[in-house]
């Protein structure tokens, strides 16, 4: 019971966390300052370096939670100088809708600007640059225009000092953090981020696996022992992520792509089923005796041989839940892939997974104490986790089996569990309160299970609304038909489609059959009426990368994506709106906000409830 409570608590707190996940990193840091706001020079830092006699590179660092106005950034030379600033190249900003000024562009992230100087004669030895910029904090205040005067020495020749480094648009908070990165700051940040992830249901499937391992030890383990076991498990998980990240960076491929194929998913599900059956006491998890005696010999000789097994188990489960942590992984992998900074990327991913493992360590540390010693109570707990694991197995194979079949699996699970809870047996008179409670729970499961079964037989797919198909047709349903995507097969296809769409916005959706989040997009987000309305005049393209062909890879690579889900936008002129790309799953509410950011130029499309 205690453990059920604990898990419920995890689930309850997770919605509070989930909303922050996109910007939790930035808030993690800037909220260290409490309500105190930054000095203007802490909020925005300007540094200018000389590239050659007629080129300067300015970098403006924007503290998290702050933004600069693009059109208020100006660079001039002090009056009286014969030289002038010919042009300033500023990167595109994010569109921000302003009630009074229409659309403005802002920078929430640090930027690099290139300043081109013009000299009438030979370049002077030094110049005085006047810089001015202004911006605001998201915390409800702005900074008056900041003016800086900089003295710069120009080289006498016109030789280029060095190639300016490529200013690839970095689209992710996480990539950004990595780029700004001092190693320890990155480690701490990712640890915290992992901690947040651990409070989402992502880690949930790992808790029963781990407790299965600890319970599976048979005789009640000591607290230290079970902590060590969970530590080995967590380290195994961490190692898997770290290796995946490093390997992905080195090869430029996404390993989790490979792990999401039907075989891997089916294998994962099978592991869950086997674990579940052992939970139900059909057998004890044991290796064949010949193999075991051999193994025992080996593990006896190697100290901590048992931990090696748990370590491997942790690594395997990391792969299983990897779709859940796709977004942060994508950010980190993107960076590693682009920079080949394997050490920093590895450290980041390691810290992330250790953070994720904290609740597992807590479970492990407490297991000796929290787990009931023996008796019927213990069996109830084991049965509960058995059911949870079977549920996980059905969920895992969801992307590769038909929707109704998955619902039927859920139905079977619920109905059988209900029977075990004595839902259909008569209560003897004067039975205990507990018996009544469990019977009540059993009946709820039974009814829901029956509804799922009915829905499955009617060909329905959504387990949360099993009977929706049985409702009268054409209610003014929230669920409109699927979006009319046109398929895109190759880069040529894409370029042609974008060229044809001239004058219209284009949305490109990367999809794959094995991608869980893509299914969620299809079933939930894309069927939302608001989303459909916003996308009415948009050319919708979809790249199905299920096959992972060379052309698919080329498409993914062009946009720095490692795999679906990824949604990209192009403006009316066919330019990619890189900062606005959506990686990972967004529900309809969040996706509407993303769309509004894309269409910020479209007047009147922003509703009052939505930030534009």
């Amino acid at each position: 019971m205690l453990r059920i409570l604990l898990i419920t608590l995890f689930l309850l707190t997770s919605p509070a966390i989930a909303g922050t996940s996109s910007n939790s990193l930035s808030s993690l840091f800037d909220d260290g300052n409490d309500a105190k706001f930054l000095q203007p020079d802490q909020a925005f830092k300007l540094s200018v370096s000389v590239q050659d006699a007629s080129t300067l590179q300015a970098s403006l660092e924007v503290a998290p939670g702050h933004y600069l106005y693009r059109d208020k950034i100006s660079f001039k030379l002090k009056e009286g100088s014969p030289s002038t600033v010919a042009a300033v190249d500023l990167p595109r900003g994010e569109a921000k809708h302003d009630a009074n000024f229409g659309d403005t562009e802002v920078y929430h992230r640090s930027i690099e600007a290139v300043i081109h100087l013009q000299h009438p004669g030979t370049p002077p030895g030094n110049i005085t640059l006047l810089a001015s910029y202004q911006g605001c904090s998201e915390k409800g205040l702005c900074y008056a225009p900041i003016r800086k005067t900089l003295q710069l020495d120009l080289p006498s020749g016109t030789t280029k000092l060095e190639d300016s480094k490529g200013t690839g648009t970095v689209t992710d908070d996480i990539s950004n953090l990595l780029q700004g990165g001092q190693l320890w700051l990155v480690a701490v940040g990712f640890f915290g981020f992992g901690l947040l992830l651990s409070l989402t249901p992502c880690v949930f499937p790992m808790i029963p696996i781990l407790s299965g391992i600890i319970v599976g030890q048979g005789s009640h383990p000591g607290r230290l022992h079970s902590f060590n076991l969970s530590l080995a498990y967590t380290l195994g998980m961490a190692m898997a992520y770290t290796l995946a990240g490093v390997a992905a960076g080195l090869s430029g491929h996404l390993i989790s792509n490979a792990l999401q194929n039907p075989w891997a998913l089916g294998g994962g599900a099978l592991v869950f089923v086997l674990l579940a059956l052992s939970m139900f006491g059909f057998y004890e998890l044991q290796l064949p005796s010949s193999l075991e005696s051999g193994l025992v010999n080996v593990t006896n000789r190697i100290k901590g041989g048992r931990f090696a097994g748990v370590f491997v188990m942790g690594a395997l489960s990391a792969l299983i839940v990897s779709p859940c942590v796709a977004a942060p992984l994508a950010g980190a992998l993107l960076y590693i892939g682009q920079t080949h900074d394997v050490v920093l990327g590895g450290v980041a991913l390691f810290a992330l997974s250790i953070g994720m493992g904290v609740p597992l360590l807590v479970v492990g540390a407490s297991a000796g104490a929290l787990l009931p010693k023996a008796g019927p109570w213990m069996n109830a707990v084991r049965n509960f986790f058995g059911v949870v694991m079977l549920g996980m197995a059905s969920w895992l194979v969801g992307p590769v089996i038909p929707g109704p079949l998955q619902m039927a699996l859920y139905a079977a699970l619920l109905i059988v569990s209900a029977i075990y809870l004595h839902a259909l047996d008569g209560l003897p008179p004067r039975s205990s309160h507990w018996a009544k409670l469990w019977k009540g729970v059993g009946i709820i499961l039974l009814v829901y299970g029956a509804a799922l079964l009915a829905g499955a037989l009617a060909g329905n797919k959504n387990p949360l609304q099993p009977l929706s198909g049985l409702r009268a047709v054409a209610v003014n349903a929230d669920n409109a038909p699927a979006l009319p995507f046109s398929p895109v097969k190759s880069l040529d296809d894409l370029d042609r489609a974008i060229a044809q769409a001239k004058g219209k916005y284009v949305m490109l959706d990367f999809y794959a059959d094995w991608c869980v989040s893509c299914k969620e997009y299809e079933h939930n987000t894309f069927r939302d009426v608001r989303v459909q309305k916003l996308l009415k005049d948009t050319v919708l393209l979809q790249a199905d990368v299920t096959g992972n062909t060379v052309q698919d890879e080329a498409l993914l690579k062009r946009f720095g994506l490692f795999g679906p889900p990824g949604i990209l936008f192009f403006d009316r002129e066919g330019r990619e709106l890189a900062p606005l790309k959506v990686i990972g799953y967004q529900d309809a509410d969040r996706f509407v906000v993303s769309l509004n950011n894309v269409f910020a130029a479209k007047e009147g499309e922003c509703s009052a409830t939505v930030a534009c």
Binding site: L2, L5, L6, L9, F10, T13, A16, I17, G19, T20, S27, D31, D34, A35, K36, F37, Q39, P40, Y69, K72, D98, A99, N100, F101, Q134, C136, S137, K139, G140, L141, C142, Y143, A144, I146, L199, V362, S366, A369, L370
Partner: protein, 179 residues
């Protein structure tokens, strides 16, 4: 069992605290309220004069002997614009009891006039331009922040200053005792 329960309660407490903390953190931070800086003085305020929305120069001397909320703002500053309706309501409500809200913009006169024509308020708006920025500094805005709000007693002395977005409730708490 006793120990288990205690452990559970501690864990539950930590998680709860953490989520509450996160929730708090996501809220907008309250503006920072500070006592007037040493050396900050209102006398430059009454010495100044700025053009109003009709372009007519208004000496600030005319608002002496009132409780004044001086609000420094700019048309490009979103939080400044957000709080203007609240200031407008306060001015309308308490004007008869001797409260005046003054909105000193750091915009130039033309920009401010254009803004005022689209978003009218009940209280006087003045175009301070660069001079307005300097005045805010003299009143204690040592961090060039907008919005910056100052409350003055009837005798012209400073009560409190606020960095960032203010709201009706906090202002009322500060000026109601002075009326």
């Amino acid at each position: 069992m006793q120990r288990n329960r205690r452990l559970l309660i501690i864990i539950a407490g930590v998680i709860l605290l953490f989520s509450i903390l996160l929730d708090q953190v996501r809220q907008h931070a309250k503006p920072e309220q500070v006592s007037p800086a040493a050396g900050a003085s209102a006398s430059p305020l009454f010495a100044a004069s700025f053009p109003d929305i009709h372009g007519k120069t208004q000496p600030l001397e005319q608002w002496r002997n009132q409780v004044i909320i001086v609000n420094f703002w700019a048309s490009w500053c979103p939080p400044c614009r957000e709080e203007m309706p609240e200031l407008s309501a306060l001015h309308a409500k308490y004007q008869s009891r001797g409260l005046t809200v003054l909105g000193i913009s750091t915009d130039d006169a033309a920009t401010m006039q254009q803004f005022a024509s689209t978003s009218p308020v009940s209280y006087p708006l003045l175009a301070g331009d660069m001079e307005g920025t300097r005045l805010a500094e003299m009143l204690g805005n040592n961090r060039s922040v907008l919005p910056f709000t100052v409350i003055l007693r009837r005798d012209g002395s400073l009560v409190t200053t606020y960095f960032g977005r203010i709201n009706t409730e906090m202002l009322e708490q500060a000026f109601l005792p002075l009326l």
